[in-house]
């Protein structure tokens, strides 16, 4: 090798080494970040590329967007996707870049996407689409902008509408619920028997229910928004109009008798202030048709009045009838007694001069007169229990019994009856009526005595509690005095028990025992007056017991 050649080679080697060193330094410098820009020859023209890129700010902004930002080629190939898109699809960025955007579209959105994508080539396009990835559907709003001619592709911004859609669904369901609820309330209000209407502060109709419309025979369109005086001019001077004004002042006013001018219907109505947020916004009117009630009440009052008049008339009649029977029975007695007295005397004095037939006839006249006498006496007594005003007096029954014995002295003496009477209680009674009861019972005991046996009448009195009385009493939970009158007379069959208290009920034939059949019904009536009970126990041939139950003093 010649020296010159060797020298050249060495020189070239040195130059290459230097060049390599320079490149190494350049590369190191670039890698170290100590270079700001690169000068690049492009088509023979120098172009400066800044390394510390000026689009750094935009890059950071785009990367940290809440919305997804994509760069795609004209075939839909994704060349850039920011982190929001990773989050939207929940995928690694490296698997998204390089994929075609179409593969992330829901099948139903593909056609719409293609149209939007095509449209974006000549500017921008927007619309709602649905993405689908790993089985998850994501509603999105997509905005596309052409980046031509500076950049061969399309910029896409995607907004997640999931929340918005959920909100929409929620809102619409809420609206649905509200409208359902409103319809329900409206139905309830419409079904109300009350006529309901509302007014604003100027007393213009704001709402009205079906019942009110039916009552007024108008449609809602005729009324809503109109002033109450426009619909009902005659109201102006009425108390109802004043009540509406008072309701506007915060008062609740009640009318119990509003009569409709058009058809005479009667209403009762409330005028109430409508209060929203503690402020009076209008008037609520609730009116109820009470025509039938009022008419019924009026009719009832009329009937009551009629009844009262009739009652008074009846009382008069009763009183007149009672006093008539009292007077009649009293006056009837007189001539009858005389017939008896005179015929009795004739029979006694002159019967020896009579033929057998005449004597028999006289006996029959006397018997008939006696029967009539009994009837009149009983009628007299019965009418007296009705006429006299019952006056309850605290009375010693022993005294009553003494009086009875005295007034019956003749009968007792002639029958040789023995009355065994212990101490009787002092209770509130109508003295004359109790006198009647005792005298009727003793009279009965003597009247129905066994022939050829001395009548023995035993009276007992004991205080018992109400539970020990078999029959139902008028005053429960009270103590009662049980007064029993027992005789040793002929008695009667059990089956007649209640019957003997009925008016004109006689158990025995006319001939055997005299009696009118009124006495015991008087007793029953009197005991009823005293809120007590009377019953009887008897057996033929074994005597009879009358039990009187009278309420004791409380």
């Amino acid at each position: 090798m010649d020296h010159a050649q060797h020298d050249d080679l060495r020189k070239e080697n040195q130059s290459l080494n230097r060049q390599l060193q320079e490149y190494k330094e350049l590369v190191d410098a670039i890698k170290n970040g100590s270079i700001d820009a690169l000068a690049i020859n492009k088509n023979g023209e120098p172009e400066i590329f800044a390394l510390e890129s000026t689009d750094y700010v935009y890059r950071v902004l785009v990367e940290n967007f809440a919305e997804s930002a994509l760069n795609v080629t004209d075939t839909g190939l994704i060349v850039y996707a920011n982190s929001a898109f990773d989050r939207l699809l929940n995928a690694a960025n490296a698997t998204l870049v390089g994929a075609n955007i179409e593969s992330f579209l829901d099948s139903k959105s593909k056609k719409a996407f293609k149209e939007m994508f095509r449209a974006s080539f000549s500017g921008t396009s927007k619309g709602e689409l649905v993405l689908s990835y790993n089985g998850k559907k994501i509603p999105v709003y997509v905005s596309m902008s052409s980046l031509y001619p500076r950049f061969p592709g399309i910029g896409i911004i995607i907004t997640d509408l999931t929340e918005k859609k959920e909100q929409e669904i929620f809102t619409s369901s809420l609206e649905h619920k509200i409208s359902e609820r409103t319809a329900f309330i409206q139905q309830v209000i419409d079904s109300s028997v009350e006529a309901i209407s509302t007014f604003d502060k100027d007393l213009n109709y704001t709402s009205i229910n079906k019942t009110a419309l039916q009552d007024l025979a108008l449609s809602a369109n005729d009324i809503i928004g109109k002033n109450v005086l426009e619909i009902f001019p005659h109201l102006k001077e009425t108390a109802q109009y004043q009540s509406m004004q008072r309701a506007l002042g915060g008062e609740t006013v009640f009318h119990n008798n509003i009569i409709s001018q058009s058809n005479g219907t009667v209403y009762e109505a409330y005028f109430k202030p409508l209060i929203v947020n503690e402020e009076i916004t209008g008037v609520l009117l609730m009116a109820r048709d009470i025509t039938t009630v009022v008419h019924a009440k009026r009719r009832l009052e009329e009937m009551n009045r009629e009844l009262e008049v009739k009652n008074t008339e009846l009382m008069h009649t009763n009183t007149e009838l009672a006093s008539f029977s009292y007077i009649a029975s009293h006056d009837l007695q007189e001539p009858l007694r005389k017939i008896q007295a005179f015929t009795g005397r004739i029979l006694d004095k002159q019967s020896d001069e009579f033929t057998k037939t005449t004597k028999d006839y006289f006996t029959r006249i006397i018997a008939a007169a006696a029967a009539m006498q009994n009837l009149i006496d009983a009628l007299h007594a019965y009418s007296r229990t009705s006429v006299l005003k019952p006056e309850f007096i605290l009375t010693d029954l022993n005294q009553i019994m003494e009086d009875v014995k005295r007034s019956m002295q003749e009968m007792i003496t002639s029958s040789e009856a023995v009355i065994d009477c212990p101490t009787l209680p002092t209770i509130r009674v109508i003295p004359l009526q109790m006198h009647q009861v005792f005298s009727n019972l003793i009279n009965n005991a003597i009247k129905f005595r066994k022939p050829k046996e001395r009548p023995y009448i035993k009276i007992t009195a004991e205080l018992i509690s109400e539970e020990n009385i078999k029959e139902e009493v008028a005053l429960p939970k009270r103590k009662y005095w049980k007064i029993s009158v027992t005789d040793n007379g002929i008695g009667f069959e059990k089956i007649y028990g209640e019957k003997i208290f009925e008016l004109f009920q006689k158990l025995h034939g006319k001939d055997a025992y005299s009696g009118t059949g009124i006495g015991l019904s008087i007793c029953k009536k009197i005991i009823q007056n005293h809120k007590g009970l009377i019953n009887v126990n008897s057996e033929p041939g074994m005597g009879t017991t009358f039990n009187i139950y009278l309420p004791a003093r409380t």
Binding site: H330, A341, F342, G344, R345, D348, A370, E410, S414, L432
Partner: protein, 128 residues
């Protein structure tokens, strides 16, 4: 007690006659004077006569009834010691009680039966 003269005050002529007849059957010796009503009885007693030893007084009478007459009799010192027997068709306990309170000695219900009438009257005369 021995009775020689009594007074019957009754407006009913039949009753007057009957009373007298029955009385004369039991006590033919007793003289029975008669007044038609209360006022007549008082007028009779105030005239100058011998006082009766018993007065039988009906209640229902015109001009002056039995109760008024009884009140006057018992309110007058001259007459109040004469026993008064009320004779009445009524056996109304109220009337009986009232008469007793006003000072009547006895209450005699006129029985319809002749024999009982006679017996009762007999007993009254025995007791007074």
């Amino acid at each position: 007690m021995n009775h020689t003269e009594i007074l019957l005050v009754d407006d009913d002529l039949d009753d007057q006659m009957f009373f007298k007849d029955v009385l004369s059957e039991i006590y033919p010796e007793i003289k029975c004077n008669i007044a038609g009503h209360g006022l007549e009885a008082l007028l009779y007693l105030n005239s100058d006569i011998k006082f009766p030893s018993l007065i039988f007084l009906d209640l229902n009478m015109p001009v002056m009834n039995g109760f008024e007459c009884l009140q006057k009799l018992k309110g007058d010192n001259r007459f109040k010691k004469i026993p008064v027997i009320i004779i009445s068709t009524s056996s109304n306990p109220y009337d009986m009680e009232k008469a007793r309170e006003m000072g009547a000695e006895h209450f005699f219900t006129k029985p319809a039966d002749y024999l009982m009438y006679k017996e009762n009257l007999f007993r009254i005369f025995k007791n007074f």
